[in-house]
Amino acid sequence: MAKHHVSATLNGNDVEFLCETQQTLLEVLRDELHHTGTKEGCGTGDCGACSVTLDGRLVCSCLVLGVEARGKSIQTIEGMAEGTSLHPLQRKFLEHAALQCGVCTPGILIAARSLLERNPDPSEEEVRFWLAGNLCRCTGYNKIIEAVLDAAREMRGG
């Protein structure tokens, strides 16, 4: 069967790709568009490592088909920094040592940005519940939570 031709935007840039019906958005991003910053941790929507936004909505890209991205705006970790200027969340993750192995980090950053867009002043509990879909096995979450709260503080101008 012929592949599907899909047009979308990826981090603000127009992209076109061909994909099989069963290929997930995660596979398309990694294998067809060579954006490997988005990670596969489970392939079943349970770990959040593949978090991206699709038209502003936080999704697990392993649960979205590539063809479903047609005409949509995809935001991945590769688009988070503005040129060489890191997003405050990225900076705070470095300052707070909020990553050890770093493989969950792209998904957590995308999810955290999504939280702060909706709630610029979350409580610790709100951060913990928002990020409950993003597994991290290294850190015990302390420093991730601290980094998100600190980034929120800075972004509010505090």
Binding site: E20, Q22, E27, R30, D31, H35, T36, G37, T38, K39, E40, G41, C42, G43, T44, D46, C47, A49, T76, I77, E78, M80, A81, L86, Q90, F93, L94, E95, H96, A97, L99, Q100, C101, G102, V103, C104, T105, P106, L109, E124, E125, V127, R128, F129, L131, A132, G133, N134, L135, C136, R137, C138, T139, G140, Y141, N142, K143, I144, I145, E146
Partner: protein
């Protein structure tokens, strides 16, 4: 959050003030990891690359009568199919130290089943094709004729006479004379000191309890993945995420019958390992497929494969008996630890028998271990392998003993805490302090005196882990501009590049930002053992400091040349060469000497390779507050404090991170995590939805107390910090639950149904 640093004693390491050691600079590999540019095992690709896929057994135990791959090979796009016939037979022998002995006869059968499949998910064939989709379609065309055999999952059942045998001719090692009959018991080990019977006869109180634990998976978020490019002339390269690319090289070369030097392994970033990536699974398969097809081959495991065919650590069945005098002095302890090895021998039971009673001074001890095979994936190392399991049993009984004699559980442990000179059950005396210091730190912590509410309870426990040294290599090169590159052979799993840069900058007397630390590939640096056993900051750190010292000697020689003085007139201080007597010349900075390198003999650099002895063990004492929902049996962690002796923290935040992460892994082990099998030996929860590791909303902020009793054998006093933090956790949680509801939880995980059942039974002892 609430971090305290305790320096209990005068340090005895001179009065030099450290400038960078103990701070928390941003890691050198940080920016690529927050921007998505860091490349992990699955992120590599090559032109002409094929996708590999692995056929796995649907049965827990079956004889392979035949494998017919002709239809798969004929599928358009399929370039190679391999089975065990593509790997040479290995000699049956155990090599290396007993505690970590390897048998390649087992290893080759674990990566590719031969006569039998021994667990659900056991690999038995693999294909390489031009797309993932074709590779997976080809797997469905491989016809396997199985003779399904009876299987055994539980360790106690596997030890029974008449249990289904995984290896029909396996005779238990470690029994003299050897038994006549084959069994699933691969090995028996026993350590003892003193006179056990006399010890128990002298005891005023004795407590004996039985325990069971479930296997748990390391749960790294990155599934195993690699890319291999091998030619049919006997050379190849691998890009892989592992805890030791030298081990990947050695094992893969051995399984493919190649020279070690003909395999080059590039260190990909690793997405978590916790011990589970110290062994190989996909690498030899990708290599064999590449060799057979003539194309690069990439293999990625699915999460289901990771659960079914890698890791976990052992489940166990244990009996622990402890005798005590009324004044609190321990007089005797006896432990029997039966560990599931999984499908091949090699559980961490020997560690368990050694570590269980190690925190304490007990004159009469016996510790017996059994390594038992059963139809589960072969166990792999997991954070202080073995120690957390025996500690769960020992520290639960310790809690019961303290209660029986009416003593505070921390004071009870402190009275019996080991010190330098205390004998161990395996022979040598303890050579370092640290245990008592962690107990004192916890006693002094405000959490220990904080009030508790209804259905709330507090538990404490302690733990021991060896911490390793061993072989490591490092090079230090001074760049043309006076900055420095530090390369080591240690895979960086939790921030070790930052630690290496700190130690190099501190030794050289230059800025942290002027040091770039990298992990070199297997052809570019000397042999370096795995990143495991909490050995890297210690052993690789020693190699880095030694290489820096060689560079300093050379820098001084260059300065002497520039000044036309004797070498012994020059010393190195604060990043500059200085002339004795001073005044005569301005100090020469590293940058200034680097600028004149060509005139003074050329590039400046040094390599150091060590086999580091003198590693000091880790001790941790931990406190847990829980609240038990008596209607559902659900346990909430209210507060958790880790007091750990780290020798000296090199990168403070990453040491805290190890302690926080280890505590949380232990909390998952205590409350949720377990392998669940059906009657046919199929794993029912091979995914993160049903195998639930702790998430952010399950947890409070973990509190850390860095106890620093320096190890004099390390230039900065470091002890391994990665593992011992997990050792006391399950016991601390169990003891807290007991404190809350008056029930001893003797089976892990302490999930809501089990806690509820305990609540509905009469209180035990």
């Amino acid at each position: 959050m609430d971090t305290k640093v305790i320096k209990p004693e005068a340090e005895g390491r001179g009065d030099r003030t450290l400038k960078i050691v103990g701070t928390s600079p941003v890691r050198p590999d940080g920016v690529p990891k927050v921007t998505g540019l860091a490349r992990y095992g699955a992120d590599y690709a090559l032109p002409g690359m094929l996708w590999g896929a692995i056929l796995r057994s649907p049965h827990a135990h079956a004889r392979i009568r035949s494998i017919d791959s002709s239809k798969a090979s004929a599928l358009p796009g399929v370039k190679a199919v391999i089975t065990s016939a593509d790997f040479p037979e290995q000699k049956y022998e155990f090599v290396g130290p007993e505690r970590v002995a390897i048998n390649f006869w087992h290893m080759t059968r674990n990566v590719m089943a031969r006569e039998k499949v021994l667990y659900e998910g056991h690999a038995l064939a693999a294909v390489a094709a031009t797309s993932k989709i074709i590779a997976e379609a080809a797997l469905r065309l491989i016809e396997v004729d199985y003779e399904v055999l009876p299987h055994v999952i539980d360790v106690d059942e596997a030890m029974q006479p008449g249990a289904p045998l995984l290896f029909e001719d396996m005779i238990t090692r470690g029994i003299d004379p050897p038994p006549n009959e084959a069994s699933n018991i691969a090995k028996r080990i026993e350590f003892s000191i003193g006179d056990l019977d006399a010890g128990f006869a002298a005891a005023d109180e004795i407590v004996e309890m039985n325990f069971k634990t479930a296997p748990v998976h390391q749960g790294y978020i990155e599934p195993h993945a690699c890319l291999a490019r091998f030619d049919n002339k006997g050379q190849g390269e691998i890009w892989a995420a592992s805890q030791g690319h030298f081990v990947v090289r050695a094992f893969t070369a051995r399984l493919l019958d190649m020279n070690i030097g003909d395999v080059l392994v590039h260190p990909a970033e690793i997405g978590g390992g916790f011990g589970g990536k110290t062994v190989i699974y996909v690498e030899p398969l990708a290599a064999a497929l590449s060799r057979k097809s003539g194309h690069p081959v990439k293999i990625m495991m699915s999460r289901e494969d990771v659960f079914k065919a890698t890791g976990p650590t052992s489940g166990a069945s244990m009996t622990v008996r402890i005798g005590v005098k009324r004044d609190g002095k321990l007089v005797a302890a006896d432990g029997v630890f039966k560990f599931q090895a999984g499908a091949f021998p090699g559980s961490p039971v020997m560690n368990a028998t050694m570590c269980g009673f190690a925190p304490y001074n007990i004159p009469n001890v016996r510790s017996v271990g059994y390594d038992v095979v059963c139809n589960r994936p072969k166990s792999a190392a997991y954070r202080a392998p073995g120690s957390p399991i025996s500690a769960y049993a020992v520290e639960s009984v310790m809690d019961a003993v303290a209660a029986k004699i009416g003593m505070d559980p921390l004071q009870f442990r402190l009275v019996n805490a080991c010190r330098t000179g205390t004998p161990t059950v395996w022979g040598p005396k303890h050579a370092h302090d640290g245990c008592a210091e962690t107990l004192k730190a916890l006693l002094a912590h405000p959490a220990y005196a904080a009030p508790l509410g209804r259905n709330q309870g507090r538990g404490v426990a302690s733990g021991f882990w060896f911490n390793n040294g061993g072989e490591s290599s490092a090079t230090v090169h001074v760049n043309e501009d006076g900055t420095v590159v530090v390369a080591t052979g240690s895979m960086d799993i939790g921030g070790s590049r930052a630690s290496m840069a700190i130690m190099a900058a501190e030794t050289l007397g230059i800025e942290y930002e002027d040091v770039r630390a990298i992990v070199a590939d297997t052809a570019s640096i000397g042999y370096t053992h795995v990143t495991g056993g909490s050995r890297v900051t210690y052993a690789t750190g020693i190699a880095v400091v030694e290489a820096c010292r060689k560079v300093i000697t050379e820098l001084c020689a260059r300065a002497a040349m520039i000044w036309s003085v004797e070498k012994d007139q020059v010393s190195w201080e604060d990043g500059s060469a200085r002339r004795a007597g001073a005044g005569k010349h301005e100090p020469l900075s590293l940058k200034a000497i680097a600028a004149k390198r060509a005139l003074t003999g050329g590039p400046i650099g040094a390599e150091a390779s060590v086999n580091a002895g003198g590693a000091a063990p880790g001790f941790a004492s931990e406190l847990c507050d829980v609240e038990v929902d008596t209607e559902t049996g659900s346990v909430k962690i209210l507060r958790f404090v880790v007091a750990q002796d780290v020798g000296r923290a090199i990168h403070r935040s990453y040491v805290e991170g190890q302690m926080e992460g280890g505590a949380v892994q232990g909390i998952g082990w205590a409350l949720n995590e377990a392998y669940v099998y059906d009657d046919a030996g199929h794993l029912l929860n091979a995914g993160f939805l049903d195998y639930r590791i702790p998430v952010a909303s399950d947890l409070p902020m973990i509190e850390t107390v860095l106890v620093e009793v320096p190890n004099p054998n390390h230039p900065f006093g470091a002890k391994g910090a990665g593992e011992v933090n997990i050792v006391p956790v399950m016991a601390a949680v169990a003891n807290a639950i007991n404190n809350a509801i008056g029930r001893r939880m003797t089976e892990l995980p302490m999930s809501p149904p089990k806690v509820l059942a305990a609540i509905h039974t009469a209180p035990g002892k």
